[in-house]
């Protein structure tokens, strides 16, 4: 027998808001999409800024774990364009200065140093500055931003967008130590900072040690280093024929950048089958649209050198074999190896964090792969005043993870500086509020759009390929943004059931467009899931179970398919169903102001 659902458990409804649940920073997605629909772009931007710090950047580059999670894909083909709507908020907002937190003139006396000026460190600083901390950022490059600046080409992310969002934080009064590479942690430890945050990313691009690798230094490049030198305008051309080796997003950025720096015949090779490539589908799509062929199942065997000059690469063809557990092994196919001729090769086969500058005897322990041992909750290392976050903690991930780490590390640092237990972490702010305005009127748009996802307009192909600074995606114009926003199902507007009001008239069961609601005999979860109107097979989504009703049955609702359309509540003669907005706000070190923008 299933027990009645405890809807007070903050995770219960949070899980129903699929996108927010999937977002590492738990951005209140439907909330900002509704603000966009009301054309309150500045507020929509600020809801994002509070949660994910870099809405303009992320609205163009985020890995979007929210989108595959979006409820919309359960009932139609494509998710809401959550990410590109974020950009629409950023593009259309007004000046946000007046909304920014106040930075106390009188400091709290605690000094924090942040090593590496990327998204993780910037997030920590943003969360701590309003509390009166003095923050110093060390960055080896001339400008802060980390991989946002160095590894994402400007045709995907214009420099101006990075500058705006990075400067907003720096202007809180952060002490900037740029162009300064830290070569010894001991040096820093000796300077008596109250806490140290290490956000140095994963700056070491993997090399490929195959035959003749070092016969040509000039024309074989490490992808992320090459992108960095393009970003800082040290490199502005490449050979006509380019091979990019690797199947991740960096490989896609390298091949597309090559096209803009003189590459005419640019190809990507990857060892695995195309379906297993690490790059996001949409990045692969963009590269292919620009005319880059992808050769999958090609494993590089040796560089061919002719008279001291790179001539090409020989590849061995591979076949993927899968064992009973679905585990993949790549084996040579036995076909003749092939030679691809080229002028330049770019290696984009992965990257790692690396800490040659951390002395072995300072008390920071590393595991057998040379990664620091970092607590998953507190981000504290084995040296109590040193914290890690972003790619420096557990290797390469997306920007949004660095932000999420930064928020948590900031809480830990704040606790640490106040002698509070690091595990004593603030609960999320949650709230349920009825959306009823009239008999069949709600304060949210329940008449959702049936349209398919709207495509983002692109710049003219030729124009884009000729100039690395021309942004390929133009972003939604206002009409498209509003149309796309109306596709959101408002998954934070929850169906709340009150047993003692229900007269079991079945009206809600009958009207529900997706057959969520059942009046049924209670059983154990397994059997109950099977005996619903439509069996509930997605175990990631809960069943909402009521107490016993008058006829001895229970109400069991499968949260998996609910469209949050409110028809059940409109149909209920007694108000046993109500639509209530569930607010879930992840707490941060600083005071969080999301609610100011939505009410």
């Amino acid at each position: 027998m299933m027990k009645p659902t405890d809807i007070k458990n903050p995770n219960y409804f949070h899980k129903v808001v699929d996108c927010q649940w999937a977002c590492p920073a738990h951005t209140p997605v439907p909330e900002y999409i509704r603000l966009i629909a009301q054309r309150k772009y500045t507020e929509a931007y600020m809801v994002n800024w509070e949660s994910n710090v870099f809405p303009g950047v992320l609205g163009r580059t985020c890995d979007r774990p929210c989108e595959p999670a979006c409820r919309r894909v359960r009932v139609e083909e494509k998710p809401v364009a959550i990410c590109r709507l974020k950009r629409a908020a950023a593009d259309n907002k007004n000046n946000v200065d007046s909304y920014l937190p106040e930075i106390p003139k009188v400091k709290n006396g605690k000094k924090i140093v942040l090593i590496g000026g990327g998204p993780a460190s910037l997030t920590v600083a943003r969360d701590l500055m309003p509390l009166g901390y003095e923050c110093t950022i060390y960055e080896k490059d001339p400008k802060a931003g980390g991989l946002m600046r160095t590894n994402i080409p400007s045709f995907r992310l214009p420099e101006g967008v990075i500058d705006e969002e990075v400067d907003r934080i720096l202007d809180f009064g952060i002490i900037r130590k740029f162009n300064e590479e830290i070569t010894s942690l001991k040096n820093i430890l000796n300077r008596n900072y109250d806490a140290i945050f290490i956000g140095t990313g994963a700056p070491k691009g993997k090399d490929l040690n195959i035959k003749n690798r070092y016969e040509s230094i000039e024309n074989i490049h490490i992808g992320i280093d090459w992108l960095t030198s393009v970003a800082f305008k040290h490199t502005d051309k490449i050979g006509k024929r380019v091979i990019v080796i690797g199947g991740g997003n960096t490989a896609m950025d390298c091949c597309r950048t090559s096209l803009r720096l003189g590459g005419l015949d640019v190809k990507v090779t990857v060892r695995s089958p195309k379906a297993d490539m690490k790059a996001s589908d949409w990045e692969i799509e963009e590269a292919e649209l620009e005319g880059v062929p992808i050769f999958d199942n090609h494993s590089p065997k040796e560089f061919v050198i002719d008279k001291g000059k790179l001539k090409g690469v020989i590849f061995e063809k591979m076949v993927a074999h899968y064992d009973d557990n679905g585990k993949r092994t790549l084996k040579p196919s036995g076909d003749e190896p092939v030679l691809f001729e080229c002028d330049d090769v770019i290696l984009a086969i992965g990257q790692e964090n690396a800490f040659p500058w951390i002395e072995k005897d300072v008390g920071i322990n590393f595991n057998e792969w040379g990664q620091p041992i970092v607590d998953k909750t507190t981000f504290q290392s084995t040296l109590s005043n040193v914290f890690f976050g972003g790619d420096a903690a557990w290797g390469p991930e997306n920007i949004i993870w660095a932000v999420a780490h930064g928020h948590q590390a900031a809480i830990s640092i704040d606790n640490y500086c106040n002698n509070t237990d690091l595990l004593d972490r603030p609960d999320p702010i949650t709230n349920l509020m009825s959306q009823k305005m009239g008999i069949h009127e709600w304060s949210y748009p329940n008449d959702i759009s049936n349209s398919n996802r709207f495509a983002v307009p692109h710049a003219d192909h030729k124009l884009a390929l000729n100039n690395i600074n021309v942004e390929v995606e133009l972003g939604y114009d206002e009409k498209l943004a509003l149309d796309e926003a109306s596709r959101c199902l408002n998954c934070d507007i929850q169906t709340i059931f009150t047993e003692n009001l229900c007269i079991e008239c079945d009206a809600c069961t009958d009207i529900c467009p997706v057959d969520c609601i059942n009046f049924i005999q209670n059983e154990d979860e397994d059997s109950l899931r099977k005996s619903l109107r439509v069996p509930a097979i997605n175990l990631n989504q809960d069943l909402y179970i009521s107490d016993n009703l008058k006829t001895g049955r229970i109400m069991a609702k499968d949260e998996d398919m609910c469209l949050h359309c409110g028809l059940c509540a409109e149909r209920c003669p007694t108000g046993a169903w109500d639509m209530q907005k569930f607010t879930y706000i992840e707490t941060q070190a600083k005071e969080i102001k999301i609610l100011d923008y939505v009410e």
């Binding site: 009958d510 467009p513 149909r571 209920c572 007694t574």
Partner: protein, 351 residues
């Protein structure tokens, strides 16, 4: 009343019937009835029954009179033929339609007002003529659409919402139908789809006049504590005569109930029904017995539901009239109507 359109999105694993349709393909417009109206549940039972039977929508005609109940034909089978007649006149229009095209399945929806008051005469004659029609009365004991006057099926001494007594006795449409010679008479409750859906299926499969008198609470005017047609009252006073299984010809299955409690009946179209009796002494094929039982239960204040009476010997109208097997609307005009010469020769007989 809901103002938005029902989202087109469906559960991706909705089952499909033999025609490859989901039950949602049998829906109509979003209902404009009061939230919680029993009539909407009946609508969804009709949808379920037609879906289960894999009926092609273009082979169905839905007819109704006037009333909240009669509005419901708009809420199911959007692709079917339909006719909203004037108040109480559904049976005449159904008779005309059926005469013209005997090949369609006719589903009539009416209310207790539409049937037992203004349309009582029409009702009686449709039964008397053995019209091949599934006649569903959505019986709420009140004139819902005109704001809650007592109807002729409302029980004596039950009260209206304001507490006034009903001074007159109720017309029992089911008993009346048996008396008038209907071959299929059932009663059910809108809140019991498990019972109602197989009854609708059987009624559709039955070749002749079939009545289903469905008690259907009017949440707005007749669901109060003095009502005998409220959700609570019916749930407390419901005496179910039997559980019906509807077994389409193609999947004839054996169900083993204890002897004496089980009746297997096959209809003329090959469909089998299996009635699992809850009252062992009840046989829906014995008219006298049925009438006595119904009176007895009514005396005890019970609302008897289930398949009440079934007589397969009753012929339907076309058989009685020995009409053409080809629907009249398919017979070419020159065959259907006598030619001018023919008419003249007939007329000559009268001179």
């Amino acid at each position: 009343m809901t103002f938005i359109k029902k989202p087109i999105f469906r559960h991706p694993s909705l089952p499909k019937n033999d025609l490859g349709l989901t039950y949602r393909d049998y829906e109509g417009l979003v209902s404009t009835l009061c939230a919680g109206c029993g009539h909407d549940s009946i609508t969804s039972s009709v949808i379920q029954a037609c879906y289960d039977m894999s009926l092609p929508a273009h082979k169905i005609a839905k007819l109704s009179g006037i009333g909240c109940s009669s509005k419901t034909t708009n809420y199911f089978l959007n692709q079917s033929h339909g006719f909203n007649t004037v108040h109480g006149r559904m049976p005449s229009v159904a008779t005309g339609a059926n005469l013209a095209n005997r090949d369609l399945i006719y589903i009539g929806v009416s209310g207790d007002g539409d049937t037992a008051s203004i349309g009582l005469g029409q009702y009686c004659h449709a039964i008397r003529r053995q019209l091949n029609l599934t006649y569903i009365v959505e019986n709420n004991g009140t004139y819902g659409l005109t704001k809650g006057q007592f109807s002729a099926t409302n029980d004596k001494n039950s009260k209206n919402k304001k507490g006034n007594d009903n001074p007159f006795g109720a017309i029992d449409l089911a008993l009346m139908a048996i008396e008038l010679g209907a071959g299929f008479v059932a009663r059910s409750f809108s809140g019991d789809k498990e019972q109602l859906v197989p009854l609708i299926k059987t009624a559709i499969a039955y070749n002749g006049f079939s009545l289903i008198d469905v008690i259907s609470p009017c949440v707005t005017f007749n669901n109060h504590q003095y009502s005998t047609k409220s959700y609570d009252y019916i749930r407390e006073h419901n005496a179910t005569m039997g559980e019906l299984d509807f077994i389409p010809e193609k999947d004839s299955i054996e169900i083993n109930y204890k002897e004496g409690e089980n009746i297997d009946i096959s209809l003329h179209d090959g469909t089998n029904i299996n009635l699992h009796k809850l009252d062992a002494s009840y046989d829906p094929r014995n008219q006298n017995d049925v009438v006595n039982k119904l009176r007895k239960y009514r005396g005890e204040g019970k609302v008897v539901t289930g398949l009440l009476y079934l007589n397969e010997e009753v012929s339907e109208m076309h058989k009685v009239l020995n009409t053409s097997k080809t629907p009249l609307n398919e017979i070419p005009l020159d065959t259907l109507c006598p030619s001018h010469d023919e008419l003249n020769s007939i007329n000559k007989n009268f001179t």
